[in-house]
């Protein structure tokens, strides 16, 4: 208990908030629209995908509120890829600090994760606007959204810690991760509804991925209970297999923490 207290000590919180603040201040330094870009970027991305996948190649036929459904997928995946990518280079990027002062290393990874969280928050505001425009009925299940987001965050945090520590030793990691993120984008039902995949085994395999499970749960909780929105729990009929994504998340977090902790003391000499 004391150790957890030490982790969130006054100094560490001050450091964390200062790093996040600086990051945020500097992110849109020199751009005319400034913070507005945090909202404009996902909007433009959405407009492009909307034109391609709603108007040109209507993939989402039969899915209620498909534009909102699509947007939910985009912002959750963007959050995951932004957070892991930024964290991956965070320790090496702050090498000058690590070599010269003794700050808790995890604060650095944590601060990039919070920057990504702030962006997610802004995107959720845009999502709320779309929901209003698209006449999505607010359902009681929306209260589960924070829990689902927490699960996605924990999953991303575990991966981030692992990647950030690994990148100190092997610079190849960034290229490998780039490929994995690309592949993950198509392996997760972001653009297409899961119902387009007719093979049930494939459907099940896809939904074992915590990102896919989290995304489908979020859509189910917020947008529609229509059976087209398949969730992991439904697919496995509430069976034990449906717990696999949660087990994966937990395992990723623990191994990320353990590996990061084992490497943290030698970051200063290895960077």
């Amino acid at each position: 208990m004391n150790r957890i207290k030490a982790i969130f000590s006054k100094q560490n919180r001050a450091l964390l908030s200062e790093l996040v603040r600086t990051d945020f201040k500097l992110r849109y330094q020199g751009s005319a629209l400034g913070y507005a870009w945090s909202l404009l970027r996902p909007l433009f991305m959405f407009v492009i995908l909307y034109i391609v996948f709603v108007k040109a190649f209507p993939l989402g036929k039969g899915v209620p509120h498909y534009p909102v459904y699509l947007f939910m997928g985009i912002i959750l995946w963007n959050f995951f890829s932004e957070m892991t990518n930024q964290s991956l280079g965070s320790i090496v990027g702050r090498g000058d600090l690590i070599r010269k002062i003794s700050i808790p290393r995890w604060v650095i990874v944590f601060s990039s994760s919070i920057s990504a969280l702030i962006n997610l928050g802004l995107n959720l505001i845009v999502l709320a606007i779309f929901m209003a425009l698209n006449h999505v009925d607010i359902m009681g299940s929306i209260i589960f959204l924070p829990l689902i987001l927490l699960e996605v965050y924990i999953f991303a945090l575990g991966i981030s810690l692992f990647l950030a520590a690994l990148f100190v030793k092997f610079r190849d990691v960034s290229y490998i991760w780039e490929v994995i993120i690309q592949a993950g984008f198509y392996l997760t039902p972001i653009l297409y509804p899961l119902s387009k995949i007719t093979n049930l085994t494939f459907q099940k395999l896809i939904l074992l991925n915590p990102m896919a499970q989290g995304l489908q749960d979020a859509r189910y909780a917020v947008i529609s209970h229509n059976p087209v929105v398949v969730t992991t729990n439904q697919l496995f009929n509430g069976g034990w297999y449906g717990m696999i994504p949660y087990v994966i998340v937990l395992m990723v977090l623990v191994s990320g923490l353990v590996y990061f902790k084992s490497q943290a003391s030698s970051f200063a000499e290895n960077i």
């Binding site: 201040k25 070599r99 010269k100 003794s102």
Partner: protein, 401 residues
Amino acid sequence: MEDIAIKVEHVSKSFKLPHEKSGSIKNVLINFARRQKGYEIQQVLHDASFEIKKGEFFGIVGRNGSGKSTLLKILAGIYTPTTGSIQVNGKLTPFIELGVGFNPELTGRENVFLNGALLGFSRKDMAAMYDDIVEFAELEKFMDQKLKNYSSGMQVRLAFSIAIRAQSDILVLDEVLAVGDEAFQRKCNDYFAAIKKTGQTVVLVTHDMTSIRKYCTRAILLSEGKIVLSESPDNVANEYTFLNLETGVAKVHGGKFPTGLNALVPALEIVPISKRVLTSSDTFEFTINYQITKDIPVRFGISLIDERSGSATSVFDDQIKDDKGELVATSVQKGKYSFRYKVPLHRFNDRDFTITATLYEIVGDKAEVIAYTAEERVGRFVVRGGEPDGGLLKEKGRWIT
């Protein structure tokens, strides 16, 4: 234990030095396949043990590559020792480099808070220290400007003010004293003199023997990763000077001795203790260090030379004499010797001066020159702040009519 600030016990540190930049998975696999280690082990610190008491001004001295920076980083918690342990009592704030994390796009004020957070101070702590820091840096008018619009001198002043105004139990400073202009230097001098009284513990790593002698209460000398001397600052500073002279002779000149020196006297130099820029109310203090490799009687003399008058005439010459006014030998055996001397400056106007030393072998009742100082081994200082175009001396004659 209560009166000990830092306790270092049998600390050793070794680094893995990769043969080439083996930061890729490919190299790791290749090395693994060939059953090679992709690195060599370099031992940087060997079994270092010492204690620093609370309120001490502790100096760490050593040549480049002696392991002093590694030791400092271990004290600061940046490196973990390979073996051994470190105990720190109280809050330790390290300054390995000034202005770590300074961002040119942020304002001076924002940078103070960012730097403070990095050093482990909360926003509230920093708010309490803020005015003091800004005032010490003399930058009140510039705090809302971006750091990129500061001159480099202003940046250094701000960083240094944070460093010495940080209310921390133990300060660890690495070579940060030589910053700022003359006036700021004087302020820092006063501050260090004052710090000795406040009971704050300071660990100082430096090449500058003047500050070691002036501020430190104790010092250690590191050579090739080992503590070779742990004593009074004066002894450590002298030993360091000799260590430097010897290797300087052997390495830089490749066995050839610099002007004025030879195998008999491989070292002879004047090392200023005072600052180089003085006023006529100050005193210029220095040490003469020499090393002799044979058991022969020698004595030395010094000369003060006014640069504008040229080296042909000295302002004065001085040699060590006994009570009866007879010249005496300063040493008869081989070894290293060190003497201190001071010159009061109240007679002089604004001039540039040089102190030179000459070493004589005593042969019967004659003395033969065996070595002299030249180039960077002479002592140089200037007197400033008085009459710019007066003569050498302040004393003048008197008008009779």
